[in-house]
Amino acid sequence: MTPQTEAHAPDLLYSETEEDLRSAVRSLLADRADAPTVIASVESGTPYDQRLWDSLAAGIGAAGLLVPEKLGGQGAGHREAAVVVEELGRSVVPAPFLTSAVVATDVLLALGADDGPAGELLDGLAAGRKVAVLAVPFATAPADGAAALAGTLDRTVTGVADAVAADVLLVPTGEGLYAVETGGDGVTVQPLVALDLTRPLATVTLSGVTGTRLAEPGPAAAAVTRGLLSGAGLLASEQLGLAEWCLTETVRYTRERHQFNRPVGSFQSLKHRMAQLWLQVVSARAAARNAADALAAGSPDAPLAVAVAQAYCSKVAVHAAEECVQLHGGIGMTWEHPAHLYLKRAKADSIAYGSAGRHRDAVAELMELPAP
């Protein structure tokens, strides 16, 4: 008997509904967020395309996927949300889906309050009228969720992802969880220069603000942990989509690019690298699907499934992006070619919601494989 055997048989395929959702998101992004558009928007200093977000969040209904229908959402789940994340990763689109529609939404859902301020906020998030983010550093691992509940409402939090797009901050404190409007007095959101151009980070400073208390410390800690677990789990789907784009583009490029009177993709040293990468990508898909399925099912297996997915997929995404740059040769180093956007996103993602090493620690704990 192992310490933790598999709790339920996961469904690792994509359903027809999920494929339909993927098509809708992909065609929207193809129209409105191709690579030149994304590069132009990150250069413009206003990375978020509000119209695109409106179409995605409200038009397709992506923002409310995790929210039950009685609370104004789509009543879907993490499997569907993962497909959206995958497509957003494939296009490295700046959109606060993972941070708001997944992490903040799951924090609020975990509070279990259908009415009151949390319910109202959920309604706004589900409809795409509002964006909320959890005011913790983007690197916070699920295992640190409980520890995030410390200190007071007056504080500075650095490295908060998508805070510049947020209407509401969910702030964990020693007193419980608070909702703070970003437009209110005493709230400063100072953009940082981030490695990943497509997911802005900011320093949030709260000074003498009044927030709305959403939960006591106990339930708040559980909710924050749940939100971070969802974030880490679905981040694997982002890493999958990103890695798949890198592989597809690299294969396409090396088939067309000729050197020494041959397509460079016919050289065995390059073929083997791309074949290895393909194997990693199909493995990442199984890991990411498993995490999404476990989250959707509320399985007791979810913490392990998420830790496995993050410990594996981070490396795959970074490797895919690095191979993409290298196998594109000089053009891979240019600003015009989008490869750099993927490399920057992949590297930042390898830190987000806990590094691979942190997730391996979680595996060690869950599987009773302790350090010396």
Partner: protein, 399 residues
């Protein structure tokens, strides 16, 4: 595929078989023969040949029903080459007479098969093979075979072999090959153990000297043996993905148990490496599970061609780590006596054996390097290597 056979029908037939041949009072071979005749051997095979013309996905229904009743199985590992390679090839290319003669004893396990493909001069470049088959001069139409094969597992216990041999050296190498069924008891067939890195002789060399094969033991047309062999080789790689593997079901489970039970062996370096491999083994398991689900859903993906690569690498890394983890014990080896096991056993015996045996995982059944080429060309659509052996006659190639 018959529309009338569904899970309920398969369950009914399984109950009927069990009622007519209670496992507790029926001999093993009798039960297996009755199961074959009931069409419950491999349900996707034709009626009369051990099947029901039913979807392959119904086989687990039969297997589960029989396992629950304590029915004997046909020891698929012992007859793996017959089941996985010979049977689908005979089904695809055999005459009615060949199918009737060979499939039943093959499935029941009365007759073990081996595969006479690889040669000392033709490993990854299998189509370069030099074993010759020429028509006998006596006008019988028989073939006379001369050559040497290698890496033949089970040859020392096999009754039959699938064999590819060159029947026309004057055409390009892929076009001059024919495919035969060889009787391993015939005069001129000599099996010699081939001792390996582990000390045991799991494989053999097979020397063929003037072996006569009647023409009715040829599979497919003369000169089209390469096409027939493709079916065999495809099935060799597809055979993965059948059963569900539990978490820690492979080699990593052994390492994890040692880690839990022997705290004194733990070091920080080994901990980090073990956790990385634990995660990779779990992901490989999930990837295999996803492939299995795709097959059941009737959407086979190309993942199968990559799984062997993943398992080979993992087996090698995990078994290497295991030797180090064991420390003093890792310096020892159980037994260097030459033995000739009937079964290929990747995971049995001790850590040293596993480490050494796993080195074969990236060579047997297609080297990892060749599989990477196959993935690159067939899955990713990358351009093929330039080659100079396609249009030249086999006899003019460098050897």
């Amino acid at each position: 595929m018959s529309a009338t056979v569904d899970a309920a029908e398969v369950r009914r037939l399984t109950r009927e078989l069990l009622a007519a041949h209670p496992p507790a009072t029926t001999g093993r071979t009798d039960f297996l023969e009755a199961r074959f005749d009931a069409g419950l051997a491999w349900v996707h095979y034709p009626v009369g040949l051990g099947g029901l013309d039913a979807p392959r996905s119904l086989q687990p229904v039969v297997d589960a029903g029989l396992a629950a009743a304590g029915a004997p199985d046909n020891d698929p590992r012992r007859i793996g080459i017959g089941l996985g390679m010979a049977a689908p090839t005979i089904l695809g290319f055999g005459t009615d007479e060949q199918k009737q003669r060979f499939l039943r004893p093959l499935w029941v396990g009365d007759e073990v098969w081996c595969q006479l493909f690889s040669e000392p001069g033709a490993g990854s470049d299998l189509a370069a093979l030099a074993t010759r088959a020429v028509r006998a001069e006596d006008g019988t139409g028989d073939w006379v075979v001369d050559g040497q094969k290698v890496w033949t597992s089970s040859a020392h216990v096999a009754r039959w072999a699938i064999l590819i041999a060159r029947t026309d050296p004057d055409v390009p190498k892929h076009r001059g090959i024919s495919y035969f069924i060889c009787d391993m008891t015939d005069p001129g067939v000599e099996v010699r153990p081939l001792r390996q890195i582990t000390g045991e002789a799991e494989f053999n060399e097979v020397f063929l000297t003037g072996v006569r094969i009647p023409d009715n033991r040829r599979l497919g047309p003369v000169g089209e043996g390469w096409k027939v062999a493709q079916t065999t080789l495809m099935n060799e790689r597809v055979s993965i993905g059948g059963a569900r593997i539990p978490r820690e079901g492979g080699m990593i489970g052994t390492v994890a148990r040692t880690w839990r039970e022997q705290p004194a062996l733990r070091t920080h370096d080994l901990h980090q490496r073990m956790l990385t491999l634990w995660v990779e083994a779990e992901v490989a398991r999930l990837t295999g599970e996803r492939l299995r689900q795709q097959l059941v859903a009737g959407q086979p993906g190309p993942e199968g061609s990559g799984m062997k690569l993943a398992f080979a690498r993992l087996n090698q890394e995990i078994s290497g780590l295991e030797v180090e983890l064991l420390g003093d014990e890792g310096l020892l080896y159980s037994d260097w006596t030459m033995r000739r096991p009937e079964l290929v056993d990747f995971t049995g015996r001790d850590a040293g054996y596993r480490y050494l045996r796993s080195k074969g995982n990236s060579i047997e059944g297609g080297t990892s390097e060749v599989l990477l080429n196959i993935v690159a060309e067939r899955v990713l659509g990358l351009p093929v290597e330039p080659r100079n052996d396609k249009d030249a006659a086999w006899k003019d190639l460098a050897r």
